[in-house]
């Protein structure tokens, strides 16, 4: 245990996990509040197609997956205006997975770079990647700060917000872009398949146990941080994958949150 910070890869992992947990906790809070968790889940899978596309044309997978998730996020919010929202998300998800398969079909070399993203690799984070994640995180959090007031209103009371002159559709699209960039970061830590755990579990737990916006948001961020840090330590001690611990601790936190909520209502 004593030597955990002696390793550069562990220091990088902690730095990256801290950065991503703050962004995921904050943005995840709004995602759950808006009932758009399925969109978040879909965008992470869309990211995989983006990464394969990027590998195919020879650019960085992170760039490809960010571009793809952003485009899909805008697509979902535009289509969602016309179609039923779940249908819009499902359409964008399956379309992009289809493209991902096509990209792999055209890719005649070994696609290990892309398949590696399915599970993420928090132990393989370079100092450069930490800086990139920090930059992305600052941008998303700044954007969230800018839109959070009308976004909160539009999330809680969309009809009233629209009547009061809030640009609801534009906000929804902007928020999806913010979510897309956050997901692109989270994929580096937990991988495409498990992004849900880092973005949704802390936020859903926070919404269960708090009654005010500010405390809820703070709880979500702190919980995401606690889960990420504890998972790294547990992975170090047990030698099991970090993403296993993130999903498990997220599930435990949510379970306890539901329980606490029940107890409070019974009293």
């Amino acid at each position: 245990m004593s030597g955990i910070f002696d390793y550069e890869f562990m220091r990088n992992a902690f730095a990256a996990a801290t950065i991503v947990a703050i962004a995921a906790g904050a943005i995840g809070y709004f995602l759950v509040l808006r009932g758009e968790t399925f969109a978040g889940h879909a965008l992470s899978h869309v990211g995989f197609s983006g990464a394969t596309g990027a590998v195919l044309i020879g650019v960085s997978p992170l760039l490809g997956l960010t571009a793809f998730t952003m485009a899909a996020g805008i697509g979902i919010s535009l289509l969602g205006e016309r179609l039923h929202r779940d249908v819009a998300i499902g359409m964008v998800l399956t379309l992009s997975l289809g493209f991902g398969l096509l990209f792999l079909h055209f890719y005649t070399a070994y696609a290990g770079m892309a398949t590696n993203l399915l599970f993420g690799n928090v132990l393989g984070i370079s100092p450069q990647t930490v800086l990139v994640l920090l930059g992305m995180s600052l941008v998303t959090i700044a954007a969230l700060c800018l839109i959070s007031r009308p976004l909160l209103f539009a999330s809680l009371q969309p009809e009233l917000a629209e009547a009061r002159g809030v640009p609801v559709a534009m906000l929804s699209a902007l928020f999806m872009v913010v979510v897309a960039v956050t997901i692109a970061q989270a994929i580096q830590i937990v991988g495409v398949l498990l992004v849900f755990a880092l973005m949704v579990a802390p936020a859903a737990t926070a919404l269960k146990v708090t009654r005010r916006f500010a405390t809820g948001l703070a709880t979500s961020v702190l919980l995401a941080l606690a889960i990420a840090w504890a998972s790294l330590v547990l992975a170090y001690v047990t030698d099991w994958p970090t993403s296993f611990w993130i999903t498990t601790l997220g599930g435990v936190a949510y379970g306890l949150g539901v329980l606490a909520n029940r107890v409070r209502q019974v009293r």
Binding site: F119, G191, P241
Partner: protein, 294 residues
């Protein structure tokens, strides 16, 4: 689906003394990490008792494409002095783990770089006759530099390996002389370089790439593959035992029904074998199969 690296063994010394000062290492053995176990086997043959070798991918039952590194792997890499890995995107996690742990006192030997393979080439380089001798020479040179006192041992071991490997290649040349142009196929391009060295004509390459990348082969690729088995065009099916699904299992059945010889290949060295016995066994299988069908 996920690989668990239970077979990974790290000595206590490796974890405890991961200091980067060169002096601390001088006393103990040189620590070598091999991403794949055949490179680990090679390192053991060259370094003998003067080095401690850890192989990361060592279980023939795992799918090496789906691999998430564990903290102990990352720790072992952080403390190693010599790292051997395949490169050409076969093991991109190794690039990532290395970038996450900088070390001044570390040498990396990348097989792909040694033989000039590029990203996008068939990554199963260990079957390329040039690869293992090149890795062996590079490793021997590195060990001689780090441990001049035992340079003679390293030289002798390198000579031994080269002789044994040359004998294997003589057999390969014999196959080529007799059976060049024979049409063969495979579920994945694992054996590709060796098949080329044997002068075979490898059919259904696009299908193999699709399987390698966990994507879906096109209908014409599957149909072409099945026809080549059914009409007796191909004499051997090289079958990757580590990456199988319904499609490959079906093809396996079809090959057996069409009396096409199936030779299993793996992306890790099987337990209890050395490079020499592993390769020799496969060359013998090929010779037996072709002798029967000609």
């Amino acid at each position: 689906m996920r690989s668990r690296l239970k077979s990974l063994v790290i000595t206590g010394a490796l974890v405890a003394t991961q200091s980067s000062s060169g002096a601390a290492w001088a006393a103990g053995p040189i620590h070598v990490i091999a991403a794949e176990n055949f490179y680990g086997d090679l390192a053991t043959q060259i370094g003998g008792k003067h080095i401690a070798v850890t192989s990361i991918l060592a279980n023939p039952n795992d799918d090496p494409h789906l691999f998430e590194s564990s903290p102990s792997t990352a720790r072992a890499i952080a403390g190693a002095q010599v790292i051997i890995y395949n490169g050409v995107d076969y093991d991109p996690w190794m690039d990532k783990l290395l970038s996450a742990s900088h070390s001044a006192d570390r040498t990396t030997i990348v097989a792909g770089d040694l033989i000039g393979a590029k990203s996008g080439d068939n990554p199963h380089l260990w079957y390329n006759p040039k690869t293992l001798p090149a890795v062996a020479a590079a490793l021997a040179a590195e060990l001689e530099k780090r441990d001049p006192a035992n340079a003679a041992d390293y030289k002798a071991n390198l000579g031994k390996f080269d002789t044994a490997f040359a004998a294997l290649m003589t057999e390969v040349d014999a196959v080529k002389a007799k059976y060049a142009g024979t049409e063969v196929t495979a579920t994945e391009p694992v054996f590709g370089y060796m098949a080329t060295a044997m002068g075979f004509k490898m059919l259904n390459y696009d299908f193999q790439v699709a399987m390698m990348n966990d994507t879906e082969p096109s209908p014409s690729e599957v149909a072409g593959f099945e026809n080549s088995l059914k009409d007796g065009t191909v004499k051997i099916l090289f079958y990757n035992d580590q990456v199988t699904d319904d499609t490959t299992t079906r093809l396996l059945g079809l090959a057996k029904a069409s009396h096409v010889t199936v030779i299993g290949v793996t992306e890790t060295e099987p337990k209890g074998k050395t490079i020499e016995t592993w390769f020799a066994g496969q060359i013998a299988d090929v010779q037996k199969a072709l002798a029967a069908s000609h």
